[in-house]
Amino acid sequence: MRKDIMSDATARADYIDGVKALKATPADDPRYSRYDWYVLWHAATMMTMTPPGNSAGRNAAHSGPAFLPWHRYYLKRFEAEIAQALGKPDFALPYWNWVADGALGETDQGNAPIWGLDAMGGSGSPVASGPFAYDPTDPDTWVVRIELRPSGLFLVERGLNRMIQQAGIRRLPNTGSVARTLLRGDYDAAPWDRSSLPSFRNELEGWRGEGMHNRVHGFVGGDMGFGHSPNDPIFFLHHCNVDRIWAFWQQRNGAATYLPLDSAPADLMRHRVSDPLYTLPGDPGASGAVISDMFADPSASYDSLSDLADLAVVV
């Protein structure tokens, strides 16, 4: 069961231990870890334009319909690998309920418990407190290894950068914007990109409406603002909450209300309902998963959707 990370100390400890265990597990390429492999996968997906050269900026997992199912697949793979690393088959990814933090005052949002020393730690370049603080003299310190730059993907060695409320975005999505997004009845719409309207996917991703997912990346700042954003372990907690919101929407609107269908044009490759979800070439865990594989039984994965149900009747 996926739980609010701030409501369950065991879930919180398991998550921190789990990501550190993955960070200590070498990938097939021993220059980086299995955790870093997920950073690499996300960055490469970001660079995979669908179709190549499209002017809408749509890639295999962003600015298009596959945004939600691709990230669900990514979280499931990550969750399973942490469970294995911890030797806890029942491990479930927790989520950061930024909807609740978004109801706080502006100052309190930056000082919310999620940024405490016993949770994700605070800001810094590099982060200097909490479980992901950087100390070059400590062999077990949290080290960023993958960085996406204009000239490509690089192997680096540095601490994590995080600049909460310092990148021009001082507030998380407010409850009103979450409520308005939840009331969208259409999963997505032509032209299936960041201009789509009406589109639940596009509002939740944050290109339309009031920012939502994109706003949270900007609020955290630092590495979370780049294509290598999974370098910050808050990434997975953030996306788990995005997935929870989709799960609630599916519960209301039907699990398989995804669009576009397979009859859509070929330039929507990787975004049609039966298209394969992008993964790295040579991925040893590739399962041949397609978008529709991500529809089943979403709401049962979460400890609570009641806060979202309350919001969805307010507007």
């Binding site: 220059r31 660079m47 190549p52 002017s55 900026g57 204009p150 990109d193 960041r194 997912h213 294509g227």
Partner: protein, 106 residues
Amino acid sequence: MTDDTHLGLPVGDHDMSHGTQVTSVRSFDHGGKAVEIAATYEVKVNGVARQLHFSVGQDGKVTSHLRPYVAYDSLVDMVKDIIDHYPDDFGPAPQGGHGDHHGHGG
């Protein structure tokens, strides 16, 4: 940063092999007329054409997977932001450089 290792890219259908020129075609109907606005962009930094992985949307806003959660009002804003975040990726300024040319919208 100079000691960092270029990993290459383990993907097959990425856009890194494309050139430095980006073509944008924006189409819409207005007053019963079909309108098409085509533009080709090339960004040079210190005189060197760079691939900054951007696209210009139908609304004229610019996005880049280098700053993937932001839509910029202009290409100028995007280029400045990317240079600010990756100063070492563009090399040192040339002797007698080009200066700062303002006012060219995206």
